[in-house]
């Protein structure tokens, strides 16, 4: 088992490098002056060059050659101090070191990003965790229910409703719940409180989740061994709980464990709208203040969490289905 885990970890390394490659290509390969121009469309050259320098985009891209210290770089200046730095003082390697050491740097207000993340993560968690637990529980219960009553009018109606629920975008749920439960019914606080974002999160995810689990369960029910069980006289509910559910664990686990790491990133829209000072809100602010560094860090973080999720999922498979290790 340990070798399995180690093997899985090693498999993620190339992906981590790939993620770095993509992010690097995105942020550093384009002509920095052009990127500056996106932010300041009519600024004069000097302003663009100053922006480039402030974001460290004037440094050599891949390797710091001795010649670089003497040439005029993108920001219109010579940087003789490059001569004293190693050959690895380039955008590529500096960035690489950043992600290896988890040194995220500072944001526009000169606050260390790692501090902000530590400060904000618990707030995001306070919304995502309950929402997650409620959604999973509700969806599994409801799908089992629908699997029990498959092919009845109830099932058909439910399918239509879930598809309709999936077709409503999050902002619509958000505005509806905010107005309905917050303003009109005065049931829940409209700001700085987790109830509404949890509600919106659950509603928005329910449709898709119920459909997904229902498909998973129905796939199992159609299998032969279920027919055998039924022939043996096992009750319908017995079939669901003792046979279908355990054998559906792999897809369920995939869905559940994969979403675990993202519980701390929070939802941009929900946090900003309902005043939860979490990571989603940090992202939202970064978009508005054009804070490259924060967005870069969040992209890495997202990818990193995804990989942890995949790793955890693979490990959880072992617990659910021992056959996996032998493959």
């Amino acid at each position: 088992m340990l070798t399995y885990i180690i093997r899985r970890i090693i498999y993620t390394l190339p992906i981590w490098i790939g993620v770095y490659g993509i992010t690097f290509a995105l942020f550093h390969m384009r002509d920095p002056i052009a990127i500056a121009r996106v932010h300041m469309p009519q600024a004069p050259d000097a302003a663009l060059k100053a922006w480039v320098r402030n974001n460290n985009l004037h440094l050599p891209r891949f390797v710091n050659l001795p010649a670089d210290a003497d040439t005029v770089l993108v920001d219109g200046k010579k940087h003789p101090e490059l001569a004293s730095k190693s050959i690895f003082y380039s955008q590529f390697f500096l960035g690489f070191r950043e992600i290896i050491t988890f040194d995220f740097g500072v944001d526009k207000n000169r606050q260390p990003i790692s501090e902000s993340i530590a400060e904000r993560a618990p707030y995001s968690l306070s919304v995502m965790l309950p929402a997650f637990l409620i959604t999973v529980t509700l969806s599994v219960v409801m799908s089992l229910f629908l699997a029990y009553f498959r092919e009845t009018g109830l099932d058909v109606g439910a399918v239509l409703i879930t598809v309709a629920m999936m077709s409503i975008p999050v902002p619509v749920y958000l505005l509806l719940c905010n107005w309905g439960f917050g303003k009109y019914l005065k049931l829940v606080p409209v700001y700085n409180h987790v109830l509404l974002p949890i509600l919106v999160s659950v509603l928005a995810g329910l449709g898709g989740q119920v459909r997904f689990y229902r498909t998973v369960f129905l796939e199992q029910i159609e299998q032969d061994y279920i027919r055998t069980a039924r022939a043996k006289g096992v009750s319908e509910s017995g079939i669901l709980f003792k046979h279908v559910l355990p054998n559906s664990l792999i897809p369920i686990l995939t869905s559940v464990v994969m979403s675990l790491p993202f519980l701390i990133t929070g939802s941009l829209i929900l946090e900003h709208f309902f005043g939860i000072p979490g990571m989603g809100d940090m992202m939202y602010t970064a978009i508005y203040s054009q804070d490259f560094q924060v967005i870069k860090v969040m992209v890495y973080l997202g990818a990193f969490l995804y990989m942890i999720g995949a790793l955890l999922t693979d490990i959880s498979y072992i617990l659910a289905d021992p056959r996996v290790v032998l493959e």
Partner: protein, 343 residues
């Protein structure tokens, strides 16, 4: 000049699409599928709805250049120019505007001159008109993004499934890498580096959403690879590209169509989220997401101005996305032999 060329390109593309669709649907081997689809009422309704939106979207895209005007108007705008522009907000079928100080002196100005099924927005523009305009933005966005994601996904999927070995590993590595970056973050980062606008949005979403399709196609290719007809084709000595495109591709086509339908629905939902955050389409482009973000403040009023919200959500986004989803599911039932019936 350029607008005319773009218009012609649009019409040709639409025509090509329709021809392809018809030939696909007329295919005799699909008779069973067609019957199954046609027999269900909701599938028929969904199909007509999608066609209606497509039509509206198309005429909303064709711009007619006029020298004296600053902004070109589309065929849609021209056909609807009989709709009156009011002074400001008005409820559906109302006789007076609302939402501003109702001064006696402005009585004449405040009268609603036309009939508006969904009322008017703050600048007096008919809401239904805006919803229809939004359809064309949704259309371009779906097509544009699909144009990026679909070919990429299909190509890489087939290559991966067919080649096996090193190339397969490489492509799978690429798929895992792209899949591990959360799409929203990638799109935001992309738009910050390259700029806003429909073109970049299509590119951004396309570059991050091809993985699902690729995985699907790869799986199917692996299955098809070992089937007799492929072995026969190989035995005949056909070149690999020919086998792939003449023999393999038609047999995975059904997957592509199903995927495309569901893909378009998720792109439209994504657009509303992006615009709601504020990094979606540019100011001034009509889109349902833009209407939603304006409705946030309108709902705060008392009495609430609900018609812009209702219009964009329930006459714009919901019918189209719902129909696409229903169609996609139905197509899957009809065409995919292994799918669990969602009936």
């Amino acid at each position: 000049m350029i607008t005319i060329l773009i218009d012609i390109a649009w019409i040709l593309a639409a025509a090509a699409g329709i021809v392809a669709l018809r030939s696909f649907l007329r295919n005799p081997s699909l008779k069973d599928a067609r019957d199954m689809l046609a027999s269900r009422l909701r599938v028929r309704i969904a199909f007509y709805v999608v066609c209606a939106y497509l039509g509206v979207g198309l005429i909303g895209q064709i711009k007619v250049p006029e020298k004296e005007r600053i902004a070109d108007r589309s065929l849609l705008d021209l056909s609807l120019q009989w709709i009156q522009k009011e002074r400001t907000y008005s409820a559906p079928f109302a006789s007076e505007v609302t939402g501003i100080r109702m001064l006696e002196a402005d009585r004449e100005l405040n009268r609603v001159k036309g009939i508006h099924i969904l009322g008017t927005d703050i600048n007096g523009v008919d809401v239904m008109h805006n919803v229809l305009r939004g359809a064309s933005t949704a259309l371009i966005l779906s097509f544009g993004t699909a144009l990026v994601a679909m070919p990429l996904g299909v190509l890489l999927g087939i290559l991966a499934g067919w080649s096996g070995g090193k190339l397969d590993d490489l492509i799978q590595w690429l798929m895992s890498t792209v899949a591990s970056i959360p799409w929203l973050l990638f799109v935001i980062a992309f738009l910050m580096v390259f700029g806003r606008g429909l073109f970049w949005i299509c590119l951004a979403i396309g570059l991050t959403s091809w993985v699902g399709t690729a995985r699907l196609i790869r799986g199917e290719t692996l299955k098809q690879k070992s089937l007799d007809y492929i072995t026969a084709a190989r035995a005949t000595g056909l070149s690999v590209p020919r086998i792939l495109f003449r023999h393999l591709l038609p047999n995975v086509r059904y997957l592509i169509i199903i995927d495309l339908t569901l893909f378009c629905s998720s792109v439209i939902l994504a657009e509303s989220i992006l615009t709601f955050i504020g990094i979606g389409v540019e100011q001034g482009t009509a889109s349902w997401g833009a209407m939603l973000i304006e409705s946030e403040k309108e709902l705060m009023r008392s009495p609430a101005i609900w018609w812009v919200f209702a219009g964009s959500a329930f006459c714009g986004i919901l019918p189209l996305v719902l129909s696409l989803n229903v169609l996609g599911d139905a197509l899957r039932d009809a065409l995919d032999p292994r799918a669990v019936s969602s009936r």
